[in-house]
Amino acid sequence: MEDMPPSPGAPAGATHVLTHADGTTRQVRVTDIETPYPLGKLIVSRTDTRGIITQCNPSFVDMSGYTADELIGQPHYILRHPDMPAAAFRDLWNSVQAGRQWNGYVKNLRKDGGHYWVYATVVPNIRDGRIVGYTSVRREPSRDRVAAAEAQYREMR
């Protein structure tokens, strides 16, 4: 998958190469700019069983920095920040593919290279006993928990 070009006027940042579980690699630009979580909102998205985004709410679009058209049909890892350890996502996939819910603190990457922290819960969408996709709901985390997650992820990388 190709990266979207940075928005005109976006701040410069460091470049990282991410390797995803499917073997693909992508170059991402990262800045230190954090976007505050939107007050009172939930960020909601849905994927198919392969992790391709099929549906997302306006908060998801706003926070990602992409347009809805740029997001639908893309793999969810478009939001993966290089500071997130691969083990966290392995754990996520192992849980939901086994039909279990997954919770965790996640640093997401914006299109402009900035980031935002969330407390994410992912559930399998089970219909007639079969997993047909996954729903992810993020909410605002406390700063203490974000600091603890940051420290833990630094050790895991």
């Binding site: 009172g40 709410n57 819910q101 406390s142």
Partner: protein
Amino acid sequence: MTFNFTVSPSFPNERISDWYIFNTWLQRQLGLPIHLELHDDFGTQRQAIAEGRVDMIHANPFDASLLVREKGFRAIARPEGSPDEMVIVVAADNPAQRIPELPAGIRLACTDDPCVNTLGRILLEPANLDTGNIQELGRETYIQVTKALLRGDADVGFLPVEAFNGLSPLVRRDLRVLVTSQIQVIHHVFLIGPALLPHAEAITRLFLSMHQTEKERAMLTALGASRWQALRQEDVEFMIDILSTLTS
């Protein structure tokens, strides 16, 4: 056979007669005997559900989860223009200006409305507040929640947006909203149980055309809705998936 109809007890008291008027209209339109039973609280309503004494319900999202996933209920429609949002309120002179400034040990006044309480607890998470460090003061009505704040018996209160907006300007002046939920994807739904499934098509048709006459539109307005919106079963399943993430 008389079918049993109930309404989630989160609606304002002044709408009680409007729900009876709606039920009379429903019976006439469908030609079915329907008994409306309004429960005082969520506990007695849940008991009625558990005992199979509900065939038709205007359900809050949490009860909808149970009814659809475990009791074979089917979604008919949802009221348009009334998402289930809530506010976290403090007395106007409370020093906290933002949720993260609320200290551990605060006294929370709330009713037993599972939807409002779940959203409220999520919105308190940025302050590291949870059931372990909140003193919860249960109140029977939203008026009592408001009184607890105004008397200084509670530090924060949970109210549906609709209940907060229904307070007099004088009362609202002495309160301050710290946060309003903007969840948008959670709403009440109208469900029918297995005994009414043979009538599902007729009920759906009736609901979706209800806004087309002036008289029936007025009935809808009295219930706080502008029209009934069609709902696919998958829409409700998706809402239930979202709700399941909020209780973890």
